[in-house]
């Protein structure tokens, strides 16, 4: 993307995030919910943020992944939990539908998601299938109800971001248990036999609603299959590459937020007669935080740029994802590991205040930790990267 246009985009998102999102960040964390006096989903939709990778015809900006990573970063800088929900909505759900849906599905489902009238989610994990997600138990059996072909879904999904509020959910279920074949479905929250269980009480990312999904003989019409029947693993894995890349912007934004809090503090706070920012041990931490933030940003941008260039040339995004799979995993492995470290450093540099909830450092630390677990754990990312490297 043209660097000037990208800079302008970043500026506009930053401005929006600091004006519309950041003022709510503390309360969102405290109350474990989005504010009720303003609809942040609609605000983000009006701004155009939900459709960064969505074609014009469905109301999107059609800008690409480099811009989406930037949007994720700037929103996370204001509120990591709002941004996590935003990422699940705009990438996990919307982008999966845009990439895999047929024209009818897209025309029906995407515009209200892009405007923020509907919230989206994606569900693959289950209580007993997290890292080993393909071992999922949730099943969809082909059936015929009063002449209408479809599937009956039974099973549970766990830790689903936006589960409590989502209207449209991309859900994976086994359509061929014997051969371990999976299909992706487009679930509407009003479908009979579908419900959500209690919202989860989390360490961090509070306000980004997470819950369990329950399917009890939920009938889903055949036209709600996303992609090919039995083609779900392909949809899931190719989606995960892009999910990791886009979500890598989350930890980058948290690292930037750590700097945003820490730098003014160390300039002001005096000990031994001078600002603590003038102590070399403090400066060493600052330098490391700066280096981690910027290298993570540069790494994710370089991968995203490759996707965008490929897409512009009319290339195959999935083949590209295959080629860049280890990079996508490494981008979030790198940024999330360093984000937790940066948040720890931010707590440390603020000393006693860093440990007190009046300062945002504790929240940044709790939020950062999620990215070492969600979208595949650090261990799984390392396994994946290692495997690819040895295979190459």
């Amino acid at each position: 993307m043209d660097p000037a246009a990208l800079a302008e985009f970043r500026e506009a998102v930053r401005d929006f995030a600091s004006r519309v999102v950041a003022p709510h960040a503390v309360a969102i964390d405290e109350n474990n919910s989005f504010p009720s006096d303003v609809n942040l989903w609609k605000e983000m939709g009006d701004m155009g943020l939900h459709g960064v990778t969505v074609p014009d015809e469905y109301g999107g900006l059609d800008m690409g992944y480099e811009a989406h990573v930037v949007a994720m970063e700037e929103l996370s800088r204001a509120s990591a939990s709002v941004a996590l929900s935003y990422g699940a909505h705009s990438n996990l759900c919307i982008n999966q539908i845009v990439r895999n849906g047929n024209p009818d599905q897209k025309a029906l489902l995407v515009p209200p998601l892009v405007s923020g009238d509907h919230v989206g989610a994606l569900a693959m994990s289950e209580p007993n299938a997290g890292s080993d997600v393909v071992s999922m138990k949730c099943r969809a059996d082909a059936t015929n109800v009063r002449g209408e072909a479809g599937y009956v879904i039974n099973g549970n999904k766990m830790w689903i971001t936006n589960g409590p509020t989502a209207q449209t959910l991309v859900v994976y279920a086994k359509t061929d248990v014997e051969n371990n074949r999976i299909t992706a479905f487009l679930i509407d929250k009003d479908m009979e036999g579908f419900r959500t269980a209690q919202k989860l009480d989390k360490l961090g990312m509070r306000g980004s609603d997470t819950c369990e999904l329950v399917f009890e003989d939920c009938f889903v019409p055949a036209d709600r299959v996303l992609g090919e029947v039995h083609g779900g693993v392909y949809v899931l894995m190719s989606g995960l590459d892009l999910e990791r890349l886009v979500l890598s912007g989350g930890p980058i934004g948290i690292m930037q937020a750590c700097l945003d809090v820490t730098l003014p503090y160390v300039r002001e706070r005096k000990q031994f007669g001078k600002p603590i920012g003038e102590m070399q041990l403090v400066q060493a931490k600052l330098a490391d935080m700066f280096m981690k933030t910027n290298s993570a940003r540069a790494y994710s941008a370089s991968i995203a740029k490759q996707f965008d260039t490929m897409k512009q040339a009319g290339g195959d995004l999935v083949a590209m994802g295959r080629k860049l799979r280890k990079d996508c995993a490494a981008s979030i492995l790198f940024s999330s590991e360093h984000a937790t470290q940066c948040a720890l450093d931010a707590v440390q540099l603020l000393g006693g205040n860093g440990y007190v909830n009046e300062y945002p450092t504790g929240r940044l630390l709790r939020d950062a930790k999620l990215y070492e677990i969600g979208a595949g754990t650090q261990e799984i990312r390392r396994i994946l990267i290692g495997r690819e490297l040895v295979r190459d």
Binding site: A12, D15, L61
Partner: protein, 262 residues
């Protein structure tokens, strides 16, 4: 009715500024630049008049160097229909800047060139030079009425007049002016909208009409006006001297008496 809205690119209101080494201006080399907040308010008012069906077209104009195009893009992203850039090397504030009279001269030429306009809306001042003169001078040059420091604007009498509430030292003053007129905006007139991403992207592709003092046939005048104002020195305001603590209320009252305040 068509509205011309003057917008200026200035140092962002939230930016930390420093005087440059030569003491001729604030250092603008690495600070964020934005549309002057009063100009944003003027543009917002123009857009609202258009949305209310009173104005038919909103034209944004700026005078300044190449980078001032950013401000016009912002104006178009907010909703301006058309943008006119009068390119001039010197703009902003400090030594060498175009003085208000020169800018008013250029704006008047733009009114001739791109008119007719029923109203020129502008900020009451730009936050860099804080001159608060351009709108008034433009009105004088054109022989139009002026309504400055507007806190409310309504177009009345079938579009022939504007009723403007002005914020003046004594409170509020309401004036009625026949159109065309120059209206300058105060802070409380409205809350400007923010540009949305789809509009920002579209604005990047839109055309900006480029003019200059030469093409507007006002170069001699502008040069002469520019020579009339010399900025001798720009310096930081003196640091605030620390206060004193008084022991108790009596000492405080005595001190006020000594200073002749009481």
């Amino acid at each position: 009715m068509r509205i011309l809205c003057a917008v200026k690119r200035v140092v962002d209101y939230a930016a930390k500024i420093r005087v440059n080494a030569a003491q001729t201006n604030v250092d603008t080399s690495s600070v964020k630049m934005s549309m002057n907040p009063f100009c944003e308010i003027a543009l917002e008012e123009a857009l609202r008049l258009k949305e209310a069906g009173i104005a038919t077209e909103v034209v944004a104009v700026t005078v300044g160097p190449d980078a001032a195009k950013d401000t016009l893009r912002t104006a178009m992203a907010m909703g301006a229909d058309h943008a006119v850039h009068v390119v001039h090397e010197s703009a902003g504030a400090g030594a060498g800047a175009l003085p208000p009279l020169a800018v008013a001269r250029v704006l008047s030429a733009v009114v001739d060139h791109a008119g007719p306009f029923g109203m020129v809306l502008a900020g009451k001042q730009a936050i860099d030079g804080d001159n608060n003169q351009t709108g008034q001078m433009l009105a004088a040059l054109r022989g139009w009425p002026q309504a400055t420091f507007a806190s409310s604007v309504s177009v009345t009498d079938g579009g022939t007049h504007a009723v403007v509430t002005r914020e003046v030292d004594a409170g509020l003053e309401t004036v009625k002016v026949p159109l065309p007129a120059v209206v300058t905006t105060d802070l409380r007139l409205n809350e400007p909208r923010y540009a949305k991403l789809p509009m920002i992207l579209k604005a990047r592709k839109r055309e900006i009409e480029t003019l200059s003092a030469e093409t507007l046939n006002v170069k001699d005048h502008v040069d002469r006006d520019q020579g009339k104002l010399h900025v001798r020195k720009v310096s930081e305001p003196p640091a605030r001297a620390g206060g004193v603590k008084t022991k108790d209320m009596d000492e405080f009252i005595n001190m006020l008496r000594e200073k002749g305040v009481l």
